[in-house]
């Protein structure tokens, strides 16, 4: 494993020479990086740089777009998640995902969080305990505890997004992938989610795709900078923002393009 930038010895998730093609166009070009355990890893870069594709490759969501072709390896705790004997269902249970816009199901708050648990046909009191814990972990419980049977769609956008995070946490993943999860939210809702993520990182490894450079600087421990499908630079967030090694990185974080 050639890992130039990763400071952690045993990454929870790593990619080796990961390329994704749409026809002949290469969306990701031989990206090798390591996601450290129980840290927040930010993936930044201008739009169209392949950030979203990168994290969608990390839990096999890319497979849902039949026009995309994948090369290279993605390892979760050393195991190739694309190996033929590995089921995408199992991968996605270990590696959860939250999307750019809140995607609550048209059901109650409670049933949204219980969705993944119902798949396992768990006992109702176990489900209830997990629902409450997950809502707490996502920092939403205090706001909704009076009525968990309310329709989830009656929540505000920021609350809906935290509900989606609670729903993802309920199945107890090791890694949580967030695809621009605050892009559609106002600053206050964004701040709440950032605070919650900092609290969560002791328990879950987080990969945060964002086009918000300040958010990456505020929130993350490690930052990866992607440009036109290539990993330009990856390192401790403080170092990358204070002393970027690459000119492209410097140009991007100082706002010369983006």
């Amino acid at each position: 494993m050639s890992e130039p930038a990763a400071p952690e010895p045993a990454p929870v998730l790593s990619t080796e020479g990961l390329s994704v093609f749409a026809g002949s166009r290469e969306i990701l070009r031989r990206v090798s990086l390591a996601v450290p355990e129980k840290k927040i890893t930010a993936v930044i870069g201008p739009s169209g740089c392949g950030k979203t594709t990168l994290i969608r490759a990390m839990n096999r969501m890319v497979e849902l777009s039949p026009e995309l072709r994948i090369e290279g390896t993605v390892r979760y705790r050393g195991r190739d998640i694309y190996a033929p004997e590995v089921s995408p269902v199992v991968v996605r249970r270990r590696i959860g995902m939250v999307f750019q816009r809140p995607t609550v199901f048209p059901q109650s708050i409670y049933e949204n969080v219980a969705f993944g648990l119902r798949l396992d046909r768990e006992e109702e009191d176990a489900v209830e305990r997990t629902v409450v814990t997950s809502l707490r972990r996502a920092g939403l419980y205090e706001e909704v505890k009076e009525d968990l049977d309310r329709p989830a769609l009656s929540l505000s956008g920021g609350q809906q997004q935290r509900l989606c995070i609670a729903r993802a946490l309920a199945v107890n993943p090791s890694v949580l992938l967030l695809d621009e999860a605050t892009a559609s939210l106002d600053p206050i809702a964004t701040q709440k989610i950032e605070e919650m993520l900092r609290e969560l990182k002791g328990e879950v490894s987080i990969v945060l795709v964002t086009h918000n450079i300040a958010q990456a600087a505020r929130t993350s421990d490690v930052t990866a900078y992607l440009h036109q499908g290539r990993l330009i630079e990856m390192g401790a967030t403080s170092e990358l923002f204070e002393a970027p090694r690459e000119k492209l990185t410097e140009a991007y974080i100082t706002g010369r393009f983006g």
């Binding site: 969306i27 739009s47 594709t53 849902l64 995408p88 269902v89 996605r92 249970r93 989606c164 695809d179």
Partner: protein
């Protein structure tokens, strides 16, 4: 045709009105032309309402509520032109026949088309699904009478000789499936009518169910998958839940279609005036009664009035079903969330 501008509430003018000098709309500046288009089409848009009103008016006028009294809602059908006093025109047998055939057919069609739509939308590869969907749509274009003749020529002998005797001997203990072998007769009857109706309703309900499954946002589907659900679990827990109003509406609109279906049912239902003791028995629906009796009705005024009144009953049933079905179709209580899908982004 050129019409005079009207206030829109009246109907396309008679010949007198159109002979009046009308400023030629085409030579006006653009705004004028737009207005001319509106003036020309506005009366047309009122036509459906007019037709509806006219039909209801004729039905109300030609029927006779006073003469038949309560016996109209009863089970006895004895049209006796020579002795009007003892004649009885009860709608009940036919109403039951209509509701029974339609309800059974729509239940079967609902189950079939939900399964069909799920496999077309969710599981089959795109090109294959498109070809198969085309065939489903083509089924909708087959004329009713063709279904009827196919049912009579192909299915009825098979029903009489194989299917129905087998059902009777193996499942005869179930209500409606036992009874005397006399009931099977030529294979025509309730069961065959239900089957033919089912095949006629399936294209419509499948298309509607397909549309409501397609309306489920891709982002919701992906969210389910990202939680570790299998595709089938996502279909069950996300799609069917999200699309349930649309599916309900599809079934109701299918019911509206089944209730009024006439010719095909007439050809295969056996046309006996009685409550069907078994699923194999011949019976009648409102629609088949009307089409079967209408020629003689012009000789017997009482019969004509009774048939018109029975037609009114059918009209009200189908109207109610369609109104309710459409309400659920358009009142997208759950469909109002604007969600953007992720996959387009993924390719960026």
């Amino acid at each position: 045709m050129t019409t005079s501008p009207t206030d829109g509430s009246t109907i396309p003018p008679a010949s007198e009105a159109s002979s009046e000098p009308v400023p030629p709309p085409a030579r006006r500046p653009p705004t004028g032309r737009k207005r001319a288009g509106a003036v020309l089409t506005a009366p047309l848009s009122w036509l459906p309402l007019l037709f509806l009103a006219a039909i209801v008016a004729v039905l109300l006028y030609a029927s006779d509520f006073h003469n038949f009294g309560l016996s109209f809602w009863g089970p006895n059908w004895f049209p006796d032109p020579l002795d009007p006093a003892s004649a009885s025109y009860g709608v009940l047998v036919f109403a039951v026949g209509t509701v029974l055939t339609s309800a059974l057919a729509v239940f079967l069609a609902g189950v079939l088309s939900i399964g069909l739509a799920i496999s077309l939308v969710m599981f089959l590869p795109g090109p294959l699904a498109r070809v198969l969907a085309l065939f489903v749509d083509l089924l909708a274009g087959i004329p009713s009478v063709v279904y009827g003749i196919w049912g009579y020529v192909v299915l009825a002998p098979y029903f009489a000789n194989d299917l129905e005797p087998a059902l009777q001997s193996h499942l005869g203990f179930l209500p409606g499936l036992g009874g005397s072998s006399v009931e099977i007769a030529g294979g025509t009857g309730l069961l065959l009518a239900v089957l033919v109706l089912t095949l006629m309703v399936v294209p419509l309900t499948t298309a509607l169910v397909r549309d409501s499954l397609r309306s489920v946002p891709r982002a919701l589907e992906e969210s389910g998958l990202a939680l570790g659900a299998t595709r089938w679990e996502v279909v069950r827990r996300v799609h069917l839940r999200y699309a349930r109003r649309g599916i309900f509406s599809a079934v109701l609109l299918g019911l509206g279609r089944a209730l009024g279906e006439t010719v095909a049912v007439f050809m295969v239902i056996g046309n006996q005036v009685r409550f069907p003791p078994t699923l194999y028995s011949g019976t009648s629906t409102i629609a088949t009664l009307l089409v079967g009796q209408f020629d003689s009705a012009f000789i017997y005024p009482d019969l004509l009035r009774a048939l018109v009144e029975i037609a009114l009953v059918l009209f009200l049933i189908t109207l109610a079903v369609n109104v309710i079905g459409r309400r659920f179709l358009t009142d997208g209580g759950l469909g109002r969330i604007a969600l953007e899908a992720g996959p387009e982004k993924a390719a960026s």
